[in-house]
């Protein structure tokens, strides 16, 4: 199963980073291709993500559920769409008073009639998307 791991440091205190990453809309703004996040409750949300696959694209509608929330250090989620099942964790660690290390891990499993094709697509994209997510988080928090 494709998996990604990205470790990055944000020049902000841990509470600030936790607050940002607890906000689904703000997290969505950092996720490549995310067009909309509809927050249903503290733990439930609906995500509309347009995934570009070379010259074509596919809009994925996923429901996400926060499975773990231990402020300000750990959050875990699962997300399900007809084509994809994804799980992820965010672990925060205070490096200094104004620096926070974030460890983002995710796994993704394609499913459905295009499973075999999407498996290849996911495998080729997951690390790049994690990298882009990390960069976007840093930029938004540090600017």
């Amino acid at each position: 199963m494709p998996k990604a791991e990205k470790v990055f440091v944000v020049a902000r205190p841990i509470d600030t980073v936790w607050e940002f990453l607890s906000d689904m809309v703000k997290v969505g703004s950092c996720l490549p291709g995310c067009e909309k996040v509809n927050v249903l409750s503290d733990t439930e949300s609906e995500w509309t993500v347009k995934v570009k696959v070379g010259p074509v694209s596919k809009t994925i509608l996923a429901k996400a559920h926060t499975t773990e929330s231990t402020p300000p250090s750990r959050a875990a989620f699962v997300a399900d769409a007809p084509e994809l099942h994804m799980e992820g964790t965010l672990d925060l660690r205070s490096v200094s008073s104004d620096q926070t290390e974030v460890v983002y891990k995710s796994t993704a499993k394609a499913k459905g009639p295009l499973e075999k094709l999407l498996e290849q697509v996911v495998a080729s994209r997951l690390n790049g998307d994690a990298e882009a997510f990390a960069n976007n988080v840093r930029v938004k928090l540090e600017s």
């Binding site: 070379g54 694209s57 596919k58 094709l117 290849q120």
Partner: protein, 522 residues
């Protein structure tokens, strides 16, 4: 109890890839090969009459994708003798008016070459390669998995971008090249590279073949040291090292079916071998269902459909020469790199189209479009010291018009191919010490491929992706339990990529509940 879990029919590079994966999954595998040498379309043999020490790449010479795919490392082929040599510059493109340029692996360097005669086409070339590089994000995953039906694939297509991409895919190479480029100097070589899949520039729905240019820039042109056959030799060594069995001079004449399941094979000499779990054919579906499977063991409708799989009259012809010196492209002042690059002898798209049209009509091309390679420059092991090999390739008709036969024409057509190169490198005629001529009929006799077709069946849109070889067979499985297909006649088609073998192995492993290894490439 059967002696083997799996029997693979055909020891070409796809059959051997499949065997290698299944052996590593713990299965007992037998590979059967009709010739006395493994390799299929990837063999290197000393077969020029009267010229010992000259090694001929009998079919394929350049491997474009295979070094980059996971098969090479997963099957540990370097450990068993495979070493790839890089060829750069990749292509030399000379024209009658003296214009010429090299296609290097580096795009910037190639664009600088093109800019000498067309600044417009130099920038267009960069954009063209970039276009197909972006498309590779879709095409590469498509290659490495059983193809989804077009119906399912349409689920990936949203909006104007997808419509535009579909429009592009439906174009012919000629039409696409006309949209991008101004000069024949750039269009013609790309058309010839694209034409390697055996379809003419005017063939609607085959514009994707031009993406081979992007693949060349991405992966480079790679040749195994010792010739194309070293790929399959190393595969065979790997198979046998891990306990697999390869039997040569073993032509399969029947796939044995009991109660709707493939249970083994019978050879033309009467020997039978039984498989407990699977029989995998790297021969095309047409041969499998019209020759190897008893009609009583297959639905008549499928048998008829398999019989109707299209294999056109366009096959190929090769002349392999032992040379006393390299072809000298003196008048082009292009330097010694002409000895390294493959030579594309094709002055215009119309020239190429005419050559294909002649072949389709049963005529040896009156003006041959030639792929010319002196592989010994990069790999001196292929020829005695100071000498060279020359590989000449053109598309040619399998069946000749007007009742003529290849035995009467073989030398004359071989002469015409050498003459075509000699228009650009005049010294080549006097430098030929000996030669081997392989007509389409020779190739059919050598490999067993119908009409000597290297890609087994036509590579037209109606027989690609989810249609290759037929919609109901495109996932490598067949209606006969335990009978699978692999090889160039399956998705994603021909060329030395090992992908069909890889994909079939994955499907078999999944069906048998075996561990799928994480061998995805970069």
């Amino acid at each position: 109890m059967p002696d083997y879990d799996v029997i693979v029919i055909g020891a070409g590079h796809n059959g051997l890839t499949c065997a290698g994966y299944l052996i590593k999954a713990g299965l007992r595998v037998l590979v059967l090969e009709r010739r006395n040498i493994v390799g299929g379309g990837a063999t290197t043999e000393e077969s020029i009459p009267g010229a010992p020490g000259f090694k001929v790449n009998t079919c394929s010479v350049d491997h474009f994708l295979s070094e980059k795919i996971p098969v090479i490392q997963y099957l540990e082929l370097p450990r068993f003798g495979l070493q790839y040599l890089k060829v750069d510059p990749m292509f030399f493109c000379p024209f009658p008016d003296g214009t010429n340029f090299f296609i290097y692996k580096d795009i910037d360097r190639t664009c600088k070459e093109i800019a000498k005669f067309s600044p417009h086409d130099a920038e267009a070339y960069r954009g063209f390669v970039e276009y197909w590089r972006n498309a590779a994000y879709l095409l590469d995953p498509l290659r490495f998995s059983p193809p989804p039906s077009f119906n399912l694939l349409s689920g990936l297509m949203e909006g104007e971008e997808a419509d535009e991409f579909m429009r592009v895919l439906l174009l012919s190479p000629e039409q696409l090249l006309d949209e991008w480029f101004e000069t024949e100097y750039v269009k013609a070589p790309i058309a010839w590279i694209a034409g390697q899949l055996g379809t003419p520039p005017s063939q609607i729905g085959t514009s994707v073949t031009t993406s081979l240019v992007e693949i060349c820039h991405r992966s480079g042109v790679n040749r195994p040291k010792g010739g194309s056959g070293m790929l399959t030799q190393s595969m065979a060594a790997m198979v046998e090292h891990y306990g697999g069995t390869i039997i040569k001079d073993a032509e399969v004449s029947r796939i044995l079916v009991e109660d709707g399941a493939a249970v083994g094979v019978r050879l033309s000499d009467g020997r039978e071998f039984h498989a407990g779990k699977a029989v995998i054919s790297s021969l095309d579906a047409k041969r499998v269902f019209t020759r190897l499977v008893d009609p009583k063991d297959i639905d008549e409708k499928l048998r008829r459909r398999a019989g109707n799989i299209h294999i056109s009259n366009i096959s190929f012809m090769k002349v392999d020469c032992a040379l006393s010196e390299l072809p000298d492209f003196e008048r082009y002042n292009a330097g010694r790199d002409t000895g390294i690059a493959s030579h594309i002898i094709c002055p215009s798209v119309k020239y190429l189209e005419t050559a294909f049209a002649d072949a389709k009509e049963g005529l040896p091309p009156r003006k041959p479009a030639i792929w010319s390679v002196c592989a010994s420059t990069v790999d001196p092991s292929l020829a005695p010291t100071g000498m060279h090999t020359l590989y000449l390739f053109q598309f040619a008709p399998y069946e000749l018009a007007d009742g003529r036969n290849w035995e009467d024409l073989r030398e004359e057509v071989a002469d015409s191919m050498i003459d075509a190169l000699a228009e650009y490198a005049p010294n080549v005629k006097k430098s030929v010490v000996a030669r081997r001529v392989c007509t389409p009929v020779d190739e059919e006799n050598r490999t067993g491929n119908i009409k000597g077709q290297a890609y087994h069946i036509d590579s037209t849109l109606n027989q690609m992706f989810g249609f290759r070889p037929l919609p109901e067979l495109s996932g490598y499985k067949t209606p006969i339990q335990g009978l699978y297909l692999t090889g160039a006649g399956t998705h994603p088609g021909g060329g030395i990529t090992c992908i069909p073998g890889h994909n079939t192995a994955k499907v078999v492993m999944e069906d048998l509940g075996l561990q799928q290894d994480g061998d995805r490439d970069e």
